[in-house]
Symmetry: C2
Subunit: 147 residues, 2 copies
DNA sequence: CAGGATCCAATACGATACTG
DNA sequence: CAGTATCGTATTGGATCCTG
């Protein structure tokens, strides 16, 4: 992948996460996987990414354990890429990015897609950071404990 | 920044977010800002990033409205970089990445830093995605509504 | 269609030197 | 210390061609 400087041995989980999925394409591929994409061509069409980069990113995500390859759901000779539990666990990350984008990256009234409850079509609740007791907590009331 | 392909006009908020902060360094800079870093040198020492790239990323984050420049807190001739409300709103994104990294990117027993409540030192609660009624919802129970 | 191989342009990034 | 400027290299990412 990139390896500008080794973050893979970082003691900070944020750095280690970004070392794996912090590139330009990986999270968009994961988003499409949540959206139902499984085939090489589906990702390619949705992302308008070159085949070489897509292939390398898919391999990287498989190597990371975020995606897994399975035999094709439609019986074709090829394979599907499906989210693993590790990949599914990225759901809060995608939702957080989506909610931040909705709130701060659109002009008022500018249209954008929306993630809704399948059952009632209503927008999800905003993600709230809470402490161990379930109380809402702000960034300034937290601190990073070094190892 | 990069502009491999224009995501800045994407109708998907995830893509638009990543267009602004989805590069290798920006979210780490934001993490350090949450951590209390304000000065050029603080970011540089923490990230071990080259000065040129750091300067360009700081400028980009200021242009995006994630950081703002203020007069130095210590009275020196230079300036501080502080989070704006838009930057503070990235807190759930950072927390989500941190919790995912903690859960999936360390071997059992491998040490890592931890984000805790300043008040009692206890680890934060895991982020939970909920629907409009406050019920826990899984990815497969959601769907993206196109514009 | 799913990929891999190759070629090429653009740039991200590090290292260094320079300035106030 | 806080940047800016320059340079060299590695990598990105698109386009094209090729295969089963």
């Amino acid at each position: 992948m990139v390896k500008r400087v080794s973050l893979s041995d970082a003691e900070c989980p944020v750095a280690r996460s970004l070392d794996g999925i912090g590139d330009w394409w990986s999270l968009l591929i994961v988003r499409d996987a949540f959206d139902g994409a499984r085939r090489f061509g589906e990702f390619q069409k949705s992302l308008r990414i070159s085949k070489g980069i897509l292939a390398s990113r898919l391999q990287g995500l498989v190597a990371l354990g975020v995606l897994a390859v399975t035999s094709a759901s439609d019986g074709s000779a090829w394979q599907d890429y499906v989210l693993t539990p590790k990949g599914e666990a990225l759901f809060p990350v995608i939702v957080a990015l989506r909610q931040w984008g909705e709130a701060f990256c659109y002009r008022p009234g500018e249209p954008h897609s929306e993630l809704v409850d399948r059952k009632d079509g209503k927008t999800l609740a905003p993600l709230i950071v809470r402490n161990a007791d379930g109380e809402i907590i702000r960034a300034r009331d937290t601190i990073v404990m070094k190892i």
